[in-house]
């Protein structure tokens, strides 16, 4: 039996990697993928905790998070497509008409 703490620490590590990706990278699509890693880390925490708690509520929550992630991807990629078509770049430093 793998202790639940292992899963939780793994999820914390993955979450931190995702956060760092958002903060360090400048490419909108890579930032977006880093956010997906963050959501995935939260899902892992949910599933591990649901198993340890013996409550399926955590699994159901993850089911909804997957739906939300799909919806976010649809809108996010649409925004990226629109910007890239018009401005030819998705580097958040170059897209800078407004003060960031």
């Amino acid at each position: 039996m793998v202790p639940v703490a292992n899963y939780l620490i793994l999820s914390a590590v993955l979450f931190t990697i995702g956060v760092l990706g958002v903060l360090i990278r400048r490419n909108a699509i890579v930032i977006f993928m880093s956010i997906e890693i963050m959501l995935n880390a939260a899902n892992l925490a949910f599933i591990a905790l649901a198993d340890a708690k013996g409550s399926l509520a955590g699994q159901v929550f993850v089911f909804f998070v997957l739906a939300v992630a799909a919806a976010e991807v649809a809108v996010g990629l649409a925004i990226i497509v629109a910007i890239s078509r018009q401005q030819g770049t998705i580097d958040v430093d170059e897209i800078n008409l407004l003060k960031w």
């Binding site: 939780l8 979450f15 995702g18 956060v19 958002v22 909108a28 930032i31 977006f32 956010i35 963050m38 959501l39 880390a41 939260a42 925490a45 949910f46 905790l49 649901a50 340890a52 708690k53 409550s55 509520a57 955590g58 929550f61 909804f64 998070v65 939300v68 919806a71 976010e72 809108v75 996010g76 925004i79 990226i80 629109a82 910007i83 018009q86 401005q87 958040v92 897209i95 800078n96 008409l97 407004l98 003060k99 960031w100």
Partner: protein, 483 residues
Amino acid sequence: MPTTQELIAISPEIILALWALSVMFLDLLIAQSRKSILAYWSLLGLLLAGGAEFSLWGREEILFQGAFVQDNLSLFLDLVLLLATGLSLLMAKGYIKDLEMEHGEYYTLTLFATLGGMLMAGAGDLLIVFLGLEVLSLSLYVLSGFRRTEPMAQEASLKYFLLGAFASGFLLYGIALVFGSTGTTLLGGIAVAITEGGLLGDPLLLLGLGLLGVGLSFKVALVPFHMWTPDVYEGAPTPVAGYMSVVAKAAGFAAALRIFLSAFLQLAGDWTLLLSLLALLTMSGGNIIALAQSNMKRLLAYSSIAHAGYILLGVIALNSWGLSSVLFYLAAYGFMNLGAFAVIVALRDGEREYLALNDYAGLGSRHPLLALSMAIFMLSLAGVPPTAGFLAKFYIFGAAVQAGYGWLAILAVLNSVLAAFYYLRVIVIMYMREPAGQVAKMTHSPALALAIFLAVIGTVQLGLFPAAVVELAQASLFPFLGS
């Protein structure tokens, strides 16, 4: 299967959802030249949903296995959301036509966004808070980029999206940790688990609450999580910026009230100090940066950040006075802030918007009524009697003093004095300064005039006769705090 009772209790939400769908279908049938019918149709839906809210007043029902709560608190917040949506639609009607983005989707998405906010206001489960927030946010990401070919709108949309999704990640991780500590995501269940399980000092729970707070702070734009606000307000269509400044904020505070009151009241000692610090940073940061702004939309963006700081004071006070004044403040803020945005929308020559502060020079003599309305909104935002903004501030600061946060109230008053500078500067520019160069024109539209008129009425009325709304706000909180 949901029971009839559940369907009745959730009827405002159902009406709004059906109405949003009906707008989409009507959009197919109506010729492009007559699209403004959709605005009136959407307003009718808002009125019906509001009527349903009124008929439900006084109920206190927990529905869908605890996932949703329909009580006076959610009804009050819903009414604020519906009212703000109505005002922003009145503003948007002519605006989106002139800027060539009059598509039915604008109204559909606005109605869905309001629905998301209403779900947050009535949430009994962190899952519903999360889903409601996502419905609201996704709609707003799209609405802020609704001028699809305009680079600034695209940029606003991208920034809002990336930071919003980032914040959702934090919120979600926080919920996961709270679930790990308490074994449930039901707000009521969390409170029970904290009492029965002796979880008061549980590090996992505190960390979860902290991350949840970070996620919500992003959404209501508290300093230091506010960076996106001015850019998004500036790039988004003006009516959408006004809508966001009120509805997204009110919904965020609604969710925060729900979460803190129903689930984490026992941990109050742990979060009030942190919130005081956030409130202080938010008020001061917002006001100081606002002083340096020369663009009206950015000025109002920073002003809205500062107002979130004031509202936080009422949450910190955590007594019945403080919480009912949070509700009162949200109502007053809705009128005055949307009113100010409506004036910005009015100062427009077809497609050309006049957003610079200097464009307001000489407005007092050229468009006296418009200038007078703007002056009223600015005075109210500054908190000068006898306006709604003054009473709202008075109640909230008084509640903070009563709860023993006198130092915070003093700092808040100092902040208001500082803020008066930039609000009054707008008035000075309007009345005292002569326009240099191009003169800003005004667009006449009955709907827009009605929006400004209603906002003026609301601002003045809440300032002179606040009793009815204050009583309503107090009645909304009765179940949580007793007297």
